[in-house]
Amino acid sequence: MKIIEARALTKQYGSNEEPISALRGVDFSLERGEFVAVMGPSGCGKSTLLHLLGGLDRPTSGELFFDEKRVDGLSETAWAILRRRNVGYVFQFFNLVGNLSAADNIELPANVAGVPAAEARRRRVELMEQLGIADRANMVPSRLSGGERQRVAIARALINRPAVLLADEPTGSLDSVAAQEVLALIRTFHASGQTTVIVTHDARVASAADRVVRMRDGAITSETAMSRNGDERSRVADLVALEL
C-alpha cells in the first residue's frame, strides 16, 4: 500500500518574472515498509523533493497524497499535526536544541504531540538503547561526537513512531566509521518495518535501499530496484577477486 504518492510536483523559487524551477514535474510513490534512496548532483532538486514529501515546504503545483488522502492543500496547522504524527525528519547537521540534554531533545516531539510523560520516557530509553547511546542521556549535544548527535537526531525522529522516516544526507557530515554505524542503524530500523526515504551522495547508503531514484535538473531520470543480481556468490574471496 502506498503511504506517499506525488503527481507532477513542481516547485519554483524566486519572483514570478524570473522563477527558478527546483522541481519540474516529479511523480513519486512510496510503499509502506519501503526504503528509497534519492541521489543526484547538487542542486538537482532532491532535498526540495524531500521537503515537499515531509510537508516542510509546499509545492507550486501538483498533487500530494499521504496515506491516500490529498494533503497538498492542507493548512499550516493541519500540516503541523500530520508531520508530528507521521513524519520523522533527520537533517545533515542534526538540528538538535543546544541547551537541552540528549534525552530532552529526543522526548521533545513526544511532549509536543501530547504523549504522556511516562510513555515518552519509556520510548526514549528504548530508542537510546537500540541506538547505543543509553549512557549519553544527560549530555548536551556539544559534548557528543557527530555520530552520537546523529543517533540522537534519529531517536528524536522516531519517538512518535512516524509512518515515514525522511533523512537528508544523514551521513554527510560524519566520518566514515560514524557514517557506517548510522547506516547500520537505519538498516536495522528498515528491517523491522520502518518506511524510509534518504537523500544521499553516499553510495553505501544508497546501496542499502530497496530502490534508488536518480534526479537531475528537477526531474527523476532513472529508478533502479536494488534486488539481487541472481549472482549469489557469498565469499569475500570471490567478491574482491584478487589476482595472483
Partner: protein, 172 residues
C-alpha cells in the same frame, strides 16, 4: 602465485602440499581455494629458473616427496619484488571504449550504458556489505571488502563525471 610461493619458502622450506596449506591459512579470506596442481607446476618452473632447490625426502609408505627451499637467486628475485611498487590501478577499458563508441555507432545510448554500469556497481557495494566473514578471518576480510568498496565508490563518481560530459555535449 609465483612470488607468493617464493615468499612462503623464505619463511621456511616446504613441500607442495605444505605450501598449499600455508597459502590458504594466510589468504583463505582473499583467494579462492588453491589448486594443488597449480602449486606443483609453479614449483617446477621456479626450479627450472634456479629460484628454488628441491631435496628428495624418503617416505616409508608413500612416494618420495620434494622439499623446496629458496636459492640465493630466489631470494634476490624476492627482494626485487618487495622493493618494486605495484602498478597503478587503471581504468577498466571495456566500459570506457563501449561508452565512447555507443553514441558514435548509434547502436546504444551512452547515458543508458552509464546507468546500467551504475546499477551494477551499487549492487556490488550492496553485496560486499552483506558478505559474511569467516570466523577468524574478520580483519583481512574487512580490509579487502573496504578496498573493493572504495574502488566502486570512485568508479561511481567517475560515472557521474561521464554523465555530465555527455549531457553537456563535451563528448558524444
Amino acid at each position: 602465485m609465483r612470488n607468493a610461493l617464493l615468499a612462503l619458502l623464505a619463511i621456511s622450506p616446504a613441500h607442495g602440499y605444505e605450501l598449499k596449506q600455508a597459502f590458504e591459512e594466510r589468504f583463505g579470506a582473499a583467494w579462492p581455494p588453491v589448486n594443488i596442481g597449480q602449486v606443483y607446476v609453479t614449483l617446477q618452473r621456479l626450479h627450472r629458473d634456479g629460484l628454488v632447490a628441491g631435496a628428495e625426502v624418503e617416505q616409508t609408505d608413500r612416494p618420495n616427496k620434494t622439499v623446496y627451499q629458496l636459492t640465493p637467486a630466489g631470494r634476490k628475485e624476492l627482494e626485487t619484488w618487495f622493493t618494486t611498487p605495484s602498478a597503478v590501478p587503471r581504468l577498466r577499458d571495456d566500459f570506457v571504449t563501449r561508452v565512447l563508441l555507443a553514441g558514435a555507432t548509434g547502436m546504444a545510448d551512452p547515458l543508458g550504458l552509464i546507468n546500467e554500469q551504475r546499477t551494477l556497481y551499487l549492487r556490488a557495494i550492496r553485496q560486499l556489505s552483506e558478505v559474511p566473514f569467516e570466523a577468524g578471518r574478520e580483519v583481512l576480510s574487512g580490509l579487502l571488502v573496504e578496498g573493493a568498496t572504495l574502488h566502486l565508490e570512485a568508479d561511481l563518481k567517475w560515472l557521474d563525471r561521464c554523465e555530465e560530459l555527455f549531457r553537456e555535449g563535451s563528448i558524444e
